[in-house]
C-alpha cells in the first residue's frame, strides 16, 4: 500500500535510452506474464484500456467451453460444470481486484445495464431524495442511462451534471446518488474514490462508481472506503474478450433491501421452482436478470487466471512506472511539436493510460497505427496509449515514443490516407 500512502514517489526512474528501458524490463517482477498473451510480432499494442489483449488461456478455455462443455456434455453442463454459478464465481475473482468481499460482486450483462441496476437500486434506498449528481464530459453512455431514468413518469430522478471540479460542491442534502466514472476515459484523471464517498455519505447520499478504466490497474479498496455500488467493464485491462460481460458490486450492508428494477429468473431466490411471484435471492445474485453468455463468462474466467498470482499493488506499481516513463518521454521529446500531456501528474489521481492532445491527433494516430503502434483516438483531439501492466514493457513505451517523434518530425501524418475518419477507432 506504499504506492497509495506515498503517491509522489516514482516507482522507477524513467528510462533515458532504449538500453535503460530494457534494463527496467529485466527488473520487472511481472515480466513473465507477457508471454501468456497473444501479441502479434511487430506490433506495439497500447489499446489494453479499450480491448485487452488475448491471454492464450482464454483461447484454450473458449475451445473447452464450446467444444467439450457445450458440444459434448450439452444440457448436462449446467450441473456438471456449474454454469449456473459462473456469475458469482467470476464475480468473486474480480472482488479481490477491487477490494470487496467475494459475495459482493457478480458478473453479467453490460456495464450500461449494470449501471441502470445500480443507480435504480441506490435510488430505491433513498426515499424522499431525487437528485443524481454526475460529471459532465465523461463517457456519455452513463449520461444516457441517467437520462433514461430521469425520463420516467412520476417521481423521476433529476440529474445534476457538473464539471469535475464542481462535483464535491454539488453534493448536498437533497442528493440521492452520486454517479461517477472513477478514471476518465479521455484524460485518465481519477477521482478521489474514498474522499468523494466519504463526502457523499456525510450528506446522506450514496455513490455508484464506474470502474471501467480502473479495475486491474489501480488499488480500489471499495470496502475500506465503505463504497455503496460499483460497475465496470471486463474487456479492457482484465482482458475478458470483446464485449465480455460486466461486473456489478453492491456493499453487503445494502443487500437485504436491494431492488435493482430489472428482475428476471436468474435473480430469483428459486429460479427452477418457476414461481409466479418475484422473490429476489438473498444476496448479490438478486442483481442478475436473464441468462448470461456462458461462453463469454468462461473466457473472462480464464482471462482472470493471469491476475490470480499478482497483487493489485504490483499491477499499480508497474502501471505507474510505465505511465511516468511515457509522460516523461513525451514531455522531453514531443512538446515542441505541439503535443500536450493531458494525463495528470499526480500518480494517485490517474489511471493507466497516457492521453496526449494535438490538433491533428487523429491523423497522427493513424500514422502511428500504420507503423504498428496501436493506440486510439478520442474526439476532439486526444491520442490514448493504454499501458496494461501485465503485457506492456518499458521498451514498448520507448519504441512508441520513438515512432511518435518520427511521425511528428517527418510530418508523415499529413499523408492524405490518414485524413479520413473511420467509424470506430
Amino acid at each position: 500500500m506504499s504506492a497509495q500512502s506515498n503517491p509522489g514517489t516514482p516507482v522507477v526512474r524513467p528510462p533515458e535510452s532504449r538500453a535503460e528501458a530494457e534494463a527496467l524490463d529485466r527488473l520487472d517482477p511481472l515480466s513473465t506474464a507477457r508471454e501468456r498473451y497473444s501479441l502479434p510480432p511487430g506490433i506495439v499494442y497500447l489499446c489494453g484500456n479499450s480491448l485487452g489483449a488475448m491471454p492464450f488461456g482464454a483461447a484454450r478455455r473458449a475451445r473447452e467451453v464450446v467444444e467439450r462443455e457445450w458440444g459434448e456434455d450439452l444440457i448436462r453442463s449446467w450441473n456438471v460444470h456449474d454454469w449456473f454459478g459462473l456469475p458469482e464465481r467470476v464475480g468473486a475473482r474480480i472482488a479481490r481486484l477491487i477490494g470487496a468481499q467475494p459475495d459482493e460482486v457478480v458478473v453479467a450483462d453490460s456495464t450500461s445495464i449494470n449501471l441502470y441496476k445500480a443507480v435504480n437500486a441506490a435510488l430505491g434506498l433513498q426515499p424522499g431524495r431525487r437528485v443524481i449528481v454526475a460529471e459532465t464530459g465523461n463517457f456519455p453512455t452513463n449520461a444516457y442511462v441517467l437520462q433514461g431514468l430521469a425520463a420516467r413518469q412520476g417521481e423521476a430522478p433529476v440529474v445534476r451534471a457538473v464539471d469535475r471540479a464542481g462535483v464535491p460542491g454539488a453534493i448536498d442534502t437533497d442528493t440521492a446518488v452520486v454517479v461517477l466514472t472513477h478514471v476518465h476515459y479521455r484524460d485518465c484523471a481519477a477521482f478521489d474514490l474514498a474522499g468523494i464517498t466519504a463526502r457523499a455519505h456525510e450528506a446522506g447520499a450514496l455513490v455508484v462508481w464506474d470502474l471501467s478504466h480502473s479495475v486491474g490497474v489501480l488499488p480500489l479498496g471499495l470496502d475500506a472506503a465503505r463504497a455503496d455500488f460499483a460497475v465496470g467493464c471486463t474487456y479492457k485491462y482484465l482482458g475478458g474478450g470483446p464485449g465480455s460481460p460486466a461486473f456489478i458490486y453492491a456493499a453487503g450492508r445494502h443487500h437485504p433491501r436491494l431492488e435493482p428494477g430489472l428482475p428476471g429468473w436468474w435473480g430469483h431466490v428459486a429460479p427452477f421452482a418457476l414461481r409466479e411471484d418475484w422473490d429476489p435471492a438473498a444476496g448479490i445474485r438478486r442483481l442478475l436478470t436473464g441468462t448470461p453468455s456462458i461462453i463469454a463468462l468462461s473466457v473472462l474466467d480464464a482471462a482472470l487466471d493471469e491476475f490470480e498470482p499478482v497483487a493489485v499493488e504490483a499491477l499499480h506499481a508497474k502501471g505507474r512506472g510505465l505511465v511516468a516513463a511515457f509522460m516523461d518521454l513525451a514531455r522531453r521529446r514531443c512538446v515542441q511539436h505541439g503535443v500536450g500531456v493531458a494525463t495528470p501528474d499526480d500518480p494517485a489521481r490517474r489511471g493507466s493510460h497516457v492521453a496526449l492532445r494535438h490538433a491533428h491527433g487523429y491523423e497522427i494516430m493513424q500514422a502511428l497505427i500504420a507503423r504498428g503502434v496501436i493506440g486510439d483516438f478520442r474526439t476532439p483531439d486526444v491520442m490514448r496509449f493504454g499501458l496494461a501492466p501485465l503485457y506492456v514493457r518499458y521498451v514498448d513505451v520507448w519504441d512508441a515514443v520513438e515512432h511518435l517523434v518520427a511521425v511528428l518530425d517527418s510530418g508523415e501524418w499529413q499523408d492524405p490516407r490518414y485524413a479520413a475518419r473511420s467509424r470506430v477507432t
Copy 2:
C-alpha cells in the same frame, strides 16, 4: 404455408416400427443437416428446446473470433471484421425466420432485458393506458419483468394476469399492452399469434410476443400479422450456444417513436461522437444498450448458417411430423402406465416439444437420462422432449419411446438414485 392453411393434415403417418421410422428418416429432406451438429454417440438428445446442440460451424467460428479476430487483429477488428454491425447482421438473419424485414430485428442482451425494453417501448406508445394483460402460469421470468415495471413509482402500469383461456376476453379498451409467450414452455401450447394480435389491435392495444419456444420451428409471419414487438431466445432451437444473446423485433412503423427506456451508447445515433445527450439511432439499433459479447454474437451468427438454406415451412413440416410421431407412440404405449400427453393435438396450436405428465415424471426422466435419452423435467410433473427439426430423427423418437416404455415396464425409475432433485435439470 400449407401446414398453416390445413393444420389437421398430418405431414407423415407416424411410424409403427423402427424400420418405418428409418424409412421416414430416409425421406426427410433435412436429413443431411444432422451431420453438421455435435451429437455424442449413444445419446438421444431431446433438449434442443432448452439448449440446442452445437453446430460444428459454431465451434470453428468461436476459434476464429477468439484466436484470429481478437488474438491477432485485436482492436482493429471493430473495423476490419465490422464487429459493430453484428447485432444488426445477426438480427437480419433471424428476421427471415420470424417473417420480419431485415431492419426490424437486432440481437443483444438477454430475453428478459429485451422484454423490459419491448414492454417499456410499447407502454410509451400508449399514453393514457396503463393495463398490461398477461398469462398466468407461463415462464415466470416474464412475470418478474412485468412486476418490476409495475413496481415503479408514479404512473406505473398495472398487470392483469389471467389464464390462457381468459386472455382474449381480458383485452379491452383500457389495455395498453398484451404480453404473451407464444409457445408455452411446459405443455407446448401455442397462442393464435395473428388472431390475438388482431383482437388486441381492435381494442387499441399493442402486443409483445415472446417467441423463445417458437423461433426456428414455426412459421411466425410477424409482419403479415401486423405484429408490434417480439423478443426471443437464440440458445434453444437456433443453437446459438449457452446463454447466447437474445433478439428483439419492433415493427418498422413503430421505430420513429420508440423509447426503450434502457438507453446506452450502442443505441445512440452517433456512438463515437461521444455526445452528452441521448439521441437515439433512427432505426432498430435504438433498442441496443451497451457492448454485447462479440464472441457470443459470432457463435450465434455461425449457428444460423444451418438455417440459411432451409425454408421455415420445411422446419415446421419436419417438427410437426416428429411431434405427431412422438405423441402417437406415447398414446399407444405409455398411457396405460399413467402417462398423460399435455401437448395439444392441433398442429397449428403447438410448438415442437412433447410434454408428458406423470406423478413421478422427475424420477422417470432421471432414469431416461441414465439410459442416454436426454429430455428434461419441469415442475410439478412434466417431462419435456424437444424435437429440433434439423437434427432429431424419427428413429430418435422411436428409441426414446422404447426407452420410456422400458423404464415404465421395469419400474427402474424407483431406484433411489433417481429420487434426489438436482438444482438444474
